[in-house]
């Protein structure tokens, strides 16, 4: 319990503050719906002015938003902003290097060193934390290989955070965590939930899918958009009513 303290403390504060005051949720579930609506608004009638910022950006973007194919429009919705915020492509990196006055030879050398580093780092999957103790054995390939594969969580996250999954059926980032990419409910061996919480979580997922709030075949489009931009997709689960905190 003691080592959980540091990272948990912030989560606790947020949970507790959420008890006293309904904080604005980071993502509203209505946003993707509005985004879809804006796509079809573009297709059908331009007088129906879309108000979401997503739609406004996709209009000003280079991609013509008046495409007849709605799939293409969805793709544009997902990839927008990548040009601005994402990491530099190889071509852009080369241009930057040229601007800095480095020749082609230095650039190739630099690329080669980066590739070497990446290759070695791929063999060292351990994320070192400050205060870890290491011995020569910890650097060995046999030991490093063990850090590559994830194990099932040993703690019940629902019990730990003390929320009711059924209250969180609208929280698509939470729902997505407990679904596979193919839209199936994860088994309790993967989620690490105890049977009571696994049943509640499964019910919340079925409820979200049944109400049409969450896709049943792949991840939520909002999650896809955020992961494209490299943004965190987690949000804080709604804490349950304090009067029901009975065990």
């Amino acid at each position: 319990m003691a080592s959980c303290r540091q990272w948990i403390s912030s989560a606790t504060r947020q949970c507790r503050s959420g008890l006293a005051q309904q904080q604005p949720r980071p993502f509203s579930t209505s946003a993707p719906v509005a985004a879809f609506r804006s796509i079809f608004a573009d297709n059908n009638d331009s007088s129906n002015a879309p108000t979401t910022s997503n739609a406004r950006r996709s209009r000003s973007g280079p991609r013509p938003s008046s495409s007849s194919n709605s799939n293409e429009a969805l793709y544009g919705l997902l990839t927008e902003g990548v040009e601005r915020g994402g990491p530099l492509s190889a071509e852009e990196q080369r241009q930057v290097m040229e601007q800095q006055g480095l020749g082609a030879r230095a650039y190739v050398k630099d690329l080669r060193a980066t590739a070497t580093t990446d290759n070695y780092l791929r063999q060292m999957p351990r994320r070192w934390r400050t205060g870890d103790v290491y011995a020569p054995r910890d650097m060995s390939p046999a030991e490093m290989r063990k850090w590559r594969q994830g194990r099932r969580p040993t703690k019940d996250i629902v019990d730990m955070l003390g929320f009711n999954p059924l209250d969180n059926y609208k929280n698509f980032s939470l729902i997505s965590e407990f679904m596979t990419t193919m839209g199936r409910i994860k088994h309790s061996t993967d989620t690490g939930l105890r049977p009571v919480n696994q049943r509640k979580m499964a019910k919340a997922i079925r409820r979200a899918v049944g109400m049409g709030l969450h896709p049943s075949v792949h991840r939520h489009p909002e999650i896809l958009r955020l992961s494209r931009h490299g943004l965190p997709t987690a949000s804080i689960p709604t804490p349950s009513d304090p009067s029901q905190n009975r065990l």
Binding site: M1, A2, W128, G131, D132, M160, L161
Partner: protein
């Protein structure tokens, strides 16, 4: 005394290593942190859980480690350092379960070579909770009289709250909501009647103090000590109502009753209440160094160093007293990745350490900072840098947090010379580019090397066709 009362065989057993081995302490808990599902069961733990035992050279050759049976020579005599940890002295299969303990043993030895005292965190001052300005100040040792207090009378625990590191109650800020709910239901709710008794005692003592003061003022004789059982339910109810409107007094009462670890008062945003309500709350400042990050699981020194100060000067036999302590070599365990916003991790004396903050070499993009970006397989033994250890402390989960700075160039050179890797004494002073004297042959060489004539001509001045 105890040895006399037992039989000779029993006394022998008690003096033996078999009985001297303490029970293992619990390992660092596996937290539910993101990414903690990726782990290795066999990796070196952040702190040792078993006693490390050693033996003499002659005994090791015979496999004698003072245990029930001799250990196999093949696996115990190869290591330079005889260090073992015994997981089980005897098992049902009649074997002794042991493994090498050089990882923690050598790490301890390397840490003690750093001569670092362990310090307690200074409470950040005033309203600025994220104030890091106190980090640069000299830190207090954990062995200071004012911080290292464990032998306290149960009635005086509340007064010593600023000086303690050991509490029977939990640190509330370190609990998750679920853990907190569980703790409330399991530990706190059954204690309701006890808390009412505790409050009655407080009321009785307060009433007695008031009566005694009045008697003193009016010159009457002192009233007898009030019995807590004589406090009526109405009085208790009134007292409870009063407490509900005084958040700090209520917290003090509950905190003293449950012996909670101290907390830093929350900021306005942390309370989650409207500002008008927060302004009604009153908080007293916490002077305990563990209020901000939680109390430690062990003694705050964790027993790895008993030094109390690093305020001493190192002396060099030739150069005299040194301004800085000798720097140490740090391994770049993981290079920084700019794309993933991951800083480099250093390894100092077997501990993973963050790179120094601020305007230091590890934060430059190129030049001296380039070494932090790459893994160069041609460098034998991996990339290493010289760093200056500044501060060491043990955090609330029992990890050793070292803070390092860039080593100064002079101190590094002196340290390298002591190792025999650099020549400083008796070396020719490096000539400055500006003040370098040029001989005639140098000048001749310089002009000969040039392809184009350096002497000026009319053509160079742009006068063509002359």
């Amino acid at each position: 005394m105890a040895a006399k009362s037992v039989s000779p065989g029993g006394a022998l057993l008690r003096a033996s290593r078999m009985f001297a081995l303490p029970n293992p302490i619990p390992p660092p808990p596996h937290d539910g942190q993101a990414g903690a599902n990726f782990h290795s069961e066999t990796a070196t733990l952040a702190f040792p859980t078993h006693q490390v035992i050693t033996t003499l050279c002659a005994s090791r050759k015979q496999g004698d480690w003072g245990l029930k049976r001799p250990l196999p020579l093949k696996s115990t005599t190869k290591s330079t350092n005889p260090m073992l940890r015994v997981k089980a002295i005897d098992t049902i299969e009649q074997i002794t379960d042991y493994s090498s303990a050089t990882d923690h043993g050598i790490t301890l030895r390397k840490f003690q070579e750093l001569n670092m005292p362990l310090t307690a965190r200074r409470p950040a001052g005033g309203d600025h909770k994220d104030n890091t300005s106190t980090m640069g100040l000299p830190q207090k040792s954990v062995f200071e009289e004012s911080l290292d207090v464990t032998d306290i009378h149960p009635d005086k625990r509340a007064e010593a709250i600023d000086n303690r590191w050991k509490f029977t109650g939990p640190w509330l800020a370190g609990m998750t909501q679920g853990e907190f709910n569980k703790w409330l239901a399991r530990e706190v709710r059954p204690k309701r009647p006890e808390f009412r008794e505790y409050l009655k005692k407080k009321i009785a003592s307060e009433l007695h103090a008031a009566a005694a003061k009045e008697a003193l003022d009016k010159g009457r004789e002192q009233p007898p000590v009030m019995d807590p059982s004589s406090v009526t339910e109405d009085q208790l109810l009134d007292y409870l109502r009063k407490l509900r409107h005084d958040n700090q007094a209520l917290y003090n009462m509950v905190g003293q009753f449950l012996d909670l670890a101290p907390l830093t008062p929350p900021t306005v945003s942390q309370t989650g209440l409207p500002t008008s309500k927060v302004s009604q709350l009153k908080f007293t400042e916490m002077k305990n160094p563990y209020a901000e990050r939680g109390p430690p699981v062990t003694h705050p020194s964790a027993g790895i160093s008993y030094l109390r100060s690093s305020m001493y000067m190192e002396n060099h036999p030739i150069y005299g007293p040194q301004k800085q302590h000798s720097p140490v070599v740090a391994r770049i365990v993981r290079p920084r990745r700019q794309a993933q916003a991951m800083p480099a991790k250093l390894g100092v004396a077997g501990f993973i350490v963050d790179t120094p903050l601020g305007d230091t070499g590890s934060n430059y993009r190129s030049g001296s900072g380039a070494i932090f970006d790459r893994i160069d397989p041609n460098v034998e033994g991996g990339a290493k840098v010289w760093v200056q250890p500044k501060m060491a402390s043990v955090d609330s989960s029992g990890r050793v947090i070292l803070r390092v700075d860039d080593a100064s160039r002079e101190a590094t050179l002196v340290a390298q010379e002591l190792l025999g890797n650099a020549v400083c004494l008796g070396a020719k002073p490096a000539e400055d580019e500006m003040n370098k004297r040029e001989s005639a042959s140098d000048i001749r060489q310089k002009y000969r090397a040039a392809d184009t004539p350096t002497l000026s001509s009319a053509r160079d001045y742009g006068l063509r066709g002359i």
